[in-house]
Structures are given as structure tokens and as C-alpha cells.
């Protein structure tokens, strides 16, 4: 037998020990089993259990209650220990010199005193113990063995498992566990990276090495090719990591592409490069609001106020910490008094909401009063009210801002999202359409449309919008998950596989969003309608649910119905007119005819 084989087999046995439940037995039995097995043909212990290996050659086993040098293995081992053989280049050569110790017996003695050595699952501990016990012995073999093999055991084990030593079930388990671990690692790495605010660059960026990727990026952003713009801007920030404007644009692009994690990461870098930039602070506040990180969002919005040239005077350093507590002391007294009469819980809630409203919003309201023509302050107010879930006030703020800036597509999206979150989904859809009019490739708005339809239970429609959003940005993980939910709610389980494998072609073919559906929505609106329109036609909307016009696609769209009602009105007027005209014409004709006849 050559050395590698021996070593391999030895290791196999050692690893097999704990698995076949021999752990905890004393060394004698162990040696016995070792030798018993070792006496057999090597192939005997591939995939066999304990009992099967006790075959006719048991006389050998029986004679081995006492470790003797009779077995080939022990002979070999003792030769090694005595230095008669050396492992050299994977060959065993007889060596000169000998040691007086009988390795086997010494080991035996030492291990009798320490019977629990094998109780340890980790066989490497055995090796360590083994090597430790024999440090004093000039034992080349032991040292060589331990040095050579300790690190490889895991690999060898894996190989053995692969060969089916432990049976097939463990192999499958190992594979699936590996897969699970791998997925966990990848997911947690990505998550920890992005949750820590570390930007994750894309691989295979074709814009690296281009002359002026920043200009390219700006151009692509303007054209609305968001995913391409991301790549170009990434190339730019790789070349110039301090380009605050590039980071800011990258952050905005990610937000519009519906990726808040990356948006936050980019915006943080932009903030590093340019700490006073108001747009960056606002964007950070918005993204954190989306991620429901209340405190962080508040911090950034307060920072916006602080750094604003006009309103900075309203704030003072260290105000942030006191914001939550400033008026509380006064209020708490009041609360204590009143709480004796009313339920404490109610007042606690009231207190929290009032403290937020009073302190933070008061600050911003002061700023708003300072200059009411500034749309930005209203936007910030709107985001704040979203945080504290005072949706009506948020909607009012956004509408005020929209009066001042009617062509800001992201503002329309904010209005829509606020309305959707306060379950005014129909209004939300109208607002999103406004946003999409202004920017047709606004992935976030498309995804939000899908969400609003899904929240209303209109799953088939929501699927189309999700697919549309995903066509523009296949990396929008949120949208994939929502798509999956909508697919199963709409009982389209046949498409679930396409969704899981992220097969956009199949999904696009199956769920197209016809241009017709989009155009009829709002092509008659050349200018943004007055905001009154939203409320006045709301009565029409519940109609569709009552009438259950499931199969009739275009009619489900509220703007189409608005248009339809106009059309009906106009048509009826025309018909009336025609009738009247026709009547008179007819009489005229009759007269002419009669004259002619006569």
C-alpha cells in the first residue's frame, strides 16, 4: 500500500467515526474497529455501514482486543513512529535510525487516561491533541502528518462525500445546504453593503474608458434612458470620486429607477463631497422616508432647513435632538393632569403626534410663512407630513407646491404616492399619469401605478404596469416581488416560472401595455388640468367597481371615463342640433320638393 492511499483511507475512517456513531467509545474499541476495517479491502468501506463491515474476517477483530503489532496497520504505524519509515514525496521509504517508543502503546496509555478525546465531533481536535501529546516524542511521522494533512481534511472530506462515502442523502443535503449558504452569503453581503450605505458598482460597464462619461450620463438622463445613465455616471465617479454633481445625479437616477438603496448610497457620497447641497439633503430625506427610516429622514430634512440660506436662521445647532422634546415638558405637565381623567393611551398618541407636528412642522411652517412662493419648502413639508402619516396635510402641501411648479414630474409622483398611501388610489393614478406625461420613462411612476392598481384589486392591470416598469429597469427587485404577488392573485400561476426566472420576453408578450390604453388616458390634456378636476370626478370612479367592467379594459381608466362623459354630452348636443336642423332642413326640402313637384 502506498502512502497516499493509506493516508486517504485513514482519514476516511477517522471522518466516518463520528458519523457512524462510534464517538465516545474508548480508544481500545476504536483501535479495534480501525484495524478490523483496515484489514479489509479498501473498497469495503465505501458506503457501508458499521454492521456490514463485520464480516468473516472477524477472527482478526477478535484477536485485537489488545492493540498489538499484528495488524498491518499497526505495524505500519509503529514503523513510522519508530522512524523506520519516512513519508517522502508521497512515497514511504525505510529510514535509518529508530526510536524506542512504541507509538501505539504510548498512544493507548495516554488515551486511556483521556477517554473523552473522541467525544469531540471535530476530528481535527483529535489531531491537535494527538500532535500535542506527542510533541515530546521525536516523531517525524506525526509532525509530518499533521502539518501535511490538517488543512486538507475539509477538502478531502468534501471529496469523500462527493464520492458517496457517506451515502447519497448526505450529498444532497450538502449540496442544498451549500446552495442555501451561498444564497445567504450573497444576499447578506449585498444587503449589508447597501444597508451600510456602500455603493455597489455594476460589472461590465461599457462606459469606462470613454472620454467624458459625465456628459454622456447627463445626456442619457435627459433622454430618459435611466439604466444607461447609471452606467455612464458610474464610470464618471470611478474616475473622479469627488464629483459631487455626478454622485447627486447618480442618486437621482437610481431613485427614479426605483432603487432607494443605491440612491441612498450615491447621495451619501454626494453629501461627503458637498455637505451643504440642498437637493442632496432633500433626496436623502425622501429616500429614507421611502425606506421608513423616520429618524434618519428627519435628520436630513432638518439639515436641509439648516443649510438653506433663507431659513437657516430659524434653526440652531443641536436643535435636532431637542426637537422631539422641546415642547414636551410643557405638554407633559398638561398631559399628566388630563390623563387622570382620560385614557393615558389616547393622550400618549396625541402627545407623540403633537410633539412631531408641533415641533418639526412648526419649524417648517414658519419657514413656509416666511416665503410662501417657494415651492421647495412646501415639498419638504409634504415629505415631513408623509413621515408622520398626516396624509391630508401632506397632500395639501404637495398641491400648493404643484401650483408653483406644475411641470415637476417627481412632484406629481410624490403627490400620487401620498394619495396612494392614504388609500386614495384612483386619485393617485391620475397624479402618476401626470408624472408620466412629463417623463415617459419614469420607472418609479410606472411601478407606483402597478401598486395602485394592485391595491385596488385590479391585478391584471397591475401586472401590465409592473412589466412595463421592469422592461425599463430589469433590476427593480421590488417590482419583481410585487409582480409575483399580482400574478398569483390573478391566478396566472403559469407565468410564475417566467417571473422567477426573470424572463422579460415572455412576460412582455403575455402582458403588453398597449399604447392605446396609455394615450386615450391623457392625450386630451395638453396642459395640466386644474387640481379641482381630481375631486369633481371622483363620484364616477366607484361606478366601475359596481358595474364590474372587468373585461372591458379601456373603460376601467377613470380619465377615459371622464373623456367619455364629455363625448356623450357633446354627441347629444350635436344630435339635438342635427335633429333641429334636420327638421328645418327637411321642411325646407319638402317645400322645395313640393314646389318642384308643382
Amino acid at each position: 500500500m502506498n502512502a497516499p492511499f493509506l493516508i486517504a483511507e485513514f482519514r476516511t475512517l477517522l471522518w466516518r467515526m463520528p458519523c457512524s456513531g462510534i464517538q465516545g467509545r474508548n480508544t481500545q474499541e476504536l483501535m479495534e474497529t480501525l484495524t478490523a476495517r483496515f484489514g479489509y479491502h479498501p473498497n469495503a468501506f465505501k458506503g457501508r455501514t458499521n454492521s456490514e463491515t463485520h464480516r468473516p474476517r472477524s477472527e482478526k477483530a477478535n484477536t485485537l482486543h489488545h492493540p498489538t503489532e499484528n495488524s498491518k496497520f499497526l505495524q505500519f504505524v509503529s514503523k513510522m513512529s519508530r522512524g523506520e519509515l519516512i513519508v517522502d514525496d508521497n512515497q514511504i521509504k525505510p529510514a535509518s535510525g529508530s526510536l524506542s517508543t512504541d507509538w501505539a502503546e504510548e498512544y493507548q496509555a495516554q488515551h486511556n487516561a483521556n477517554p473523552d478525546a473522541w467525544a469531540n465531533d471535530n476530528t481535527q481536535t483529535w489531531v491537535k491533541e494527538f500532535t500535542h501529546e506527542h510533541q515530546d516524542v521525536e516523531d517525524q511521522w506525526v509532525n509530518e502528518f499533521s502539518r501535511l494533512q490538517v488543512d486538507d481534511w475539509a477538502d478531502e472530506f468534501g471529496k469523500q462525500v462527493g464520492e458517496g462515502v457517506l451515502g447519497d442523502s448526505s450529498e444532497n443535503w450538502a449540496d442544498s445546504y451549500d446552495g442555501f449558504l451561498g444564497e445567504q452569503l450573497a444576499a447578506s453581503k449585498h444587503q449589508s453593503d447597501s444597508s451600510r450605505g456602500v455603493y455597489v458598482f455594476s460589472d461590465l460597464n461599457p462606459y469606462i474608458g470613454l472620454e467624458n462619461p459625465f456628459k454622456e450620463g447627463q445626456e442619457l438622463f435627459r433622454k430618459g434612458l435611466l439604466s444607461e445613465a447609471v452606467l455612464a455616471l458610474e464610470a464618471e465617479v470611478m474616475n473622479n470620486p469627488n464629483n459631487a454633481e455626478a454622485w447627486r445625479l447618480l442618486g437621482i437616477t437610481h431613485a427614479e429607477n426605483d432603487d432607494d438603496q443605491q440612491a441612498i448610497a450615491s447621495m451619501l457620497r454626494a453629501q461627503e463631497a458637498d455637505p451643504m447641497n440642498l437637493e442632496v439633503l432633500l433626496a436623502l430625506g425622501v429616500s429614507h422616508t421611502n425606506e421608513l427610516e423616520q429618524e434618519a429622514a428627519l435628520k436630513y430634512l432638518h439639515g436641509w432647513l439648516q443649510n438653506h440660506p433663507k431659513y437657516g436662521s430659524l434653526t440652531s445647532p443641536g436643535q435636532m435632538e431637542s426637537l422631539y422634546y422641546a415642547d414636551v415638558s410643557f405638554f407633559s405637565l398638561l398631559v399628566l393632569l388630563l390623563s387622570t381623567y382620560f385614557s393615558l393611551h389616547l393622550f400618549q398618541a396625541l402627545l407623540m403626534s403633537t410633539s412631531l407636528s408641533l415641533n418639526v412642522a412648526r419649524l417648517f411652517n414658519e419657514a413656509a410663512q416666511m416665503s410662501p412662493e417657494d415651492a421647495d419648502i412646501h415639498i419638504v413639508l409634504g415629505v415631513l407630513y408623509n413621515l408622520s402619516r398626516e396624509y391630508d396635510k401632506a397632500i395639501a402641501s404637495f398641491k400648493t407646491a404643484l401650483k408653483l411648479k406644475p411641470r415637476d414630474y417627481s412632484l406629481w409622483n410624490k403627490l400620487g404616492a401620498t394619495q396612494a398611501n392614504s388609500v386614495q388610489s384612483a386619485d393617485a393614478i391620475l397624479a402618476y399619469q401626470q408624472a408620466l406625461d412629463l417623463k415617459p420613462n419614469y420607472v418609479r411612476a410606472w411601478a407606483n401605478m402597478g401598486i395602485s392598481y394592485a391595491n385596488q384589486g385590479l391585478y391584471e392591470d397591475s401586472i401590465r404596469y409592473y412589466v412595463k416598469a421592469l422592461t425599463m429597469n430589469p433590476k427593480a427587485d421590488n417590482a419583481w416581488q410585487y409582480l409575483r404577488i399580482s400574478l398569483s392573485s390573478a391566478s396566472r400561476n403559469d407565468m410564475l416560472e417566467a417571473c422567477d426566472s426573470r424572463n422579460l420576453d415572455v412576460l412582455q408578450r403575455e402582458f403588453p401595455l398597449s399604447e392605446q390604453q396609455c394615450l386615450t388616458c391623457h392625450n386630451y390634456l395638453e396642459t395640466p388640468p386644474s387640481l379641482l378636476h381630481f375631486d369633481s370626478f371622483q363620484w364616477l370612479l366607484p361606478l366601475h367597481v359596481r358595474c364590474n367592467l372587468e373585461g372591458f379594459g379601456p373603460l376601467k381608466d377613470p380619465s377615459v371615463r371622464k373623456f367619455g362623459s364629455y363625448i356623450i354630452l357633446v354627441l347629444s348636443l350635436i344630435m339635438l342640433q342635427m335633429y333641429m336642423v334636420g327638421f328645418s332642413e327637411f321642411s325646407l326640402l319638402a317645400r322645395v320638393h313640393s314646389i318642384y313637384m308643382e
Binding site: 421611502n290 389616547l346 398618541a349 409622483n413 400620487g416 388609500v423 391595491n455 384589486g457 416581488q481
Partner: protein, 126 residues
């Protein structure tokens, strides 16, 4: 309109508030017809069982209330804040959550099986 969840430190509070408003809509009424069970959610900010906030999602009457339920719920779930959000938005499959121990269930298993991501309305992004 008093917002019951405004005093909460949980991220899930926002979603539950949306759920509460959702109940009054037609889609919510559909849900009541489809599910018709009472779920109790014990949501903890950091570790399951510590500083839990208890919400009751009553899909029989169509209400979301804070505080333990007087009566017998069909199923009680215990989550961490982030895990509840993951399950409600479909990032994590409820079965997977259960296997990983991110979600603990008490009560009738058939009721628990009806607890799927599609009963929750999704939050829109500003």
C-alpha cells in the same frame, strides 16, 4: 382622524396604518369576504418577544387595531419589524420565514396558511 399608530417606533406601523385605511375600500371588502379571519401580530423592533407591539388585523369585521384581542384569534404571529415588512411586501415567502424562525405561529395552521403577502396593500414610493 386619530392615527393609532403614530406613537409607534416600528416601520411596520406605516404598513398597518395603510392596511387600516385599506379595509374601508372595496378591495378591502373583497378581502374580508375572501379571508374572514382574525390575526394577531406581535411585532418586536429588534428581537422576537422583547418590546412587542401587538396589532390585531381583523379580517372579519375589517379593522386594524392596536392592542391585544379580546377573544380568540385564529392565528397569532410573532415577527421582528424588518421581517414583517419583508413578508408583507413579498420579499420573503411566509413558509421560508417560518422555516428560518423569522416568523412564529400560534393557532390554527390553516388560518396561518391564508396569511399571504397579497392581503396587504403595498406602500408607494415618493
Amino acid at each position: 382622524m386619530a392615527d393609532q399608530t403614530s406613537g409607534s417606533v416600528l416601520k411596520s406601523a406605516a404598513l398597518l396604518e395603510q392596511m387600516r385605511l385599506h379595509m374601508a375600500t372595496d378591495a378591502g371588502k373583497e378581502l374580508i369576504k375572501k379571508v374572514g379571519l382574525v390575526y394577531q401580530l406581535n411585532i418586536a423592533p429588534k428581537r422576537i418577544g422583547h418590546d412587542e407591539e401587538i396589532y390585531v388585523v381583523d379580517l372579519k369585521k375589517g379593522a386594524v387595531t392596536k392592542g391585544p384581542y379580546e377573544g380568540k384569534t385564529d392565528a397569532t404571529f410573532s415577527f421582528k419589524d424588518a421581517d414583517f415588512l419583508a413578508v408583507a411586501t413579498g420579499k420573503m415567502n411566509p413558509q421560508m420565514a417560518f422555516i428560518r424562525g423569522a416568523m412564529k405561529i400560534k393557532g390554527s395552521l390553516s388560518a396561518a396558511q391564508k396569511f399571504t403577502p397579497d392581503i396587504f396593500p403595498k406602500p408607494s414610493k415618493l
